[in-house]
């Protein structure tokens, strides 16, 4: 087990292992997402209160879940890097940030679009929307810090540290925002309160959540693979790979 983990930690073997895993993850993501979308759009019943707007849920809820758990995964990579100094963890962290930020953005905008027919306004300072907004700021902090630091090695350490500091603070922020929201309760309807969702809605939602997870892992792997190549570009195995890729491209043109 440890041996296997150790192997995964080296950039070269990660590249080899992910080569085999990536098609599986990609196919599963595509499968779950397309079945989930068709089911959610065509076959799931409309909500008895919200009507067809409830179909927004099949995008909004998975995006929100992924927004949070991608921050968790990113920050865990930061912990791994700070404790064990595994280079791959730091690469993984930096590659997760833009994906996480884009999913958080998706969660925010879809929440806002959902709010329009539900509440009559585009934005309500609802507890979950507000903490998603804060999460978005945390992601932007990581991205901004990374782009401001020129040295790759210290950028990795700095973003790891910042992600871990954010991880420690996140529960406190979430708690305080929830508490603040109960003080200033303005809307009686909340996105989180779903009185006994029928199984016909629950199942496609589950598919979408699983699909989003597979999607996240797929694109995360793709980004890490590229970053590994860029960092290891002086290594022999990368050189050989580049040359074989060139040959493949030439063959394609010849045919």
């Amino acid at each position: 087990m440890w041996n296997w983990l150790h192997k995964l930690g080296s950039p070269k073997s990660f590249f080899a292992i992910s080569e085999r895993l990536l098609p599986w993850f990609g196919t599963l993501a595509l499968l779950f997402l397309s079945v989930g979308i068709v089911w959610g759009l065509l076959f799931a019943p409309p909500d008895y209160q919200q009507g067809d707007t409830a179909r927004i849920m099949f995008v909004h809820v998975p995006a929100s879940i992924l927004a949070q758990s991608s921050y968790m995964m990113m920050a865990s990579a930061g912990v791994v890097f700070l404790v064990w100094r595994i280079k791959l963890a730091e690469i993984a962290l930096q590659c997760a940030a833009p994906i996480g930020a884009s999913l958080t953005f998706l969660a925010l905008v879809t929440g806002s679009i959902w709010g329009k027919p539900m509440w009559g306004t585009w934005w309500v300072w609802d507890a979950r929307l507000t903490s998603t907004l804060v999460l978005f700021f945390l992601f932007m902090g990581i991205i901004a810090l990374r782009s401001a630091m020129e040295n790759r090695a210290s950028a990795g350490r700095a973003t790891s540290l910042l992600a871990v500091v954010g991880l420690v603070n996140l529960p406190i922020i979430k708690f305080s925002v929830d508490w603040w929201n109960t003080l200033h309760q303005s809307s009686s309807f909340s996105l989180t309160q779903k009185p006994a969702m029928p199984i016909e809605m629950w199942f496609p939602l589950l598919l979408m959540v699983i699909g989003f997870y597979f999607f996240f892992f797929s694109v995360w792997m793709m980004r890490i693979r590229t970053e590994v190549l860029i960092r290891e570009r002086r290594a022999d195995w990368v050189k050989r790979l580049v040359l074989t890729m060139k040959n493949k491209r030439d063959m394609k043109h010849a045919v």
Binding site: L82, V134, F137, L138, M140, G141, A144, L145, A148, M149, E150, N151, A153, S154, R157, A158, L161, L162, V164, V165, G166, V168, N169, I172, I173, F175, S176, V177, W179, W180, L183
Partner: protein, 221 residues
């Protein structure tokens, strides 16, 4: 050792009164913009006062954070400290305490005057004073992490705001709620305990993160 390093910090800032005064002037200025921008009537001011004072405190802390390590970094003494036989953690801790003494504390002491100008009641002023007294050290501690990370960077100013402001949210919520509760005559001892708990947590964790962040910034150079 810690006291020595705090003393050094105080002495250095005495020699540079502008760094000491600017955040304070900024604080007063920002607060006084709101009556001009919104309305000078007592009811409106009472309503917005807690938020205005706290947001201004957040921003002016951020302003003083920016210069926290800069001078020591530029003349190389920060690098010296990091390799000196004294534990770096204590030196950094001294810098944080010193930073709060010259920027946080004056702000706390100044705030009752502003609170009177914003038509807060006596109870409200008391709560505000306590909330700032407990809250500004948290701001200094958390801010020092961001200050460390952005030491040698050119666009440090805006960057430190993006890094640190999200972390300030719980303090802002608790601090303003304390003042609002006091204005309404409700007990706010729960908020005091929460702020104290966050302060304790920050004291025990933030100096380590700051030390690490300064180390990273030094190795970046």
């Amino acid at each position: 050792m810690l006291i020595k390093s705090i003393q050094r910090e105080l002495l250095l800032s005495m020699r540079r009164p502008a760094d000491l005064l600017n955040p304070l002037v900024f604080f007063v200025l920002v607060v006084s913009l709101f009556p001009l921008g919104i309305s000078p009537s007592d009811e409106v001011l009472k309503e917005i006062a807690p938020g205005v004072i706290w947001v201004a405190a957040l921003l002016s802390t951020l302003l003083s954070m920016e210069v926290m390590f800069r001078n020591d970094f530029e003349d190389g003494s920060l690098e010296q400290m990091s390799i000196s036989p004294q534990p770096f953690l204590v030196l950094v801790g001294g810098k944080i305490v010193g930073q709060w003494l010259v920027s946080g504390l004056p702000l706390v002491l100044m705030s009752p005057v502003l609170a009177v100008m914003l038509a807060l009641s006596e109870e409200g002023i008391k709560a505000m004073f306590i909330s700032l007294l407990l809250g500004t050290p948290i701001l200094s501690l958390l801010g020092s992490i961001g200050a460390g990370l952005t030491i040698g960077l050119k666009k440090g100013g805006a960057l430190i705001a993006i890094l640190i402001l999200p972390l300030y949210i719980p303090v802002l919520i608790l601090g303003t709620h304390m003042i609002i509760a006091a204005e309404q005559g409700v007990s706010y001892s729960g908020d005091v305990l929460w702020l104290a708990a966050i302060l304790a947590l920050s004291i025990s964790l933030a100096p380590f993160a700051t030390t690490e962040s300064v180390r990273i910034a030094l190795s970046d150079g």
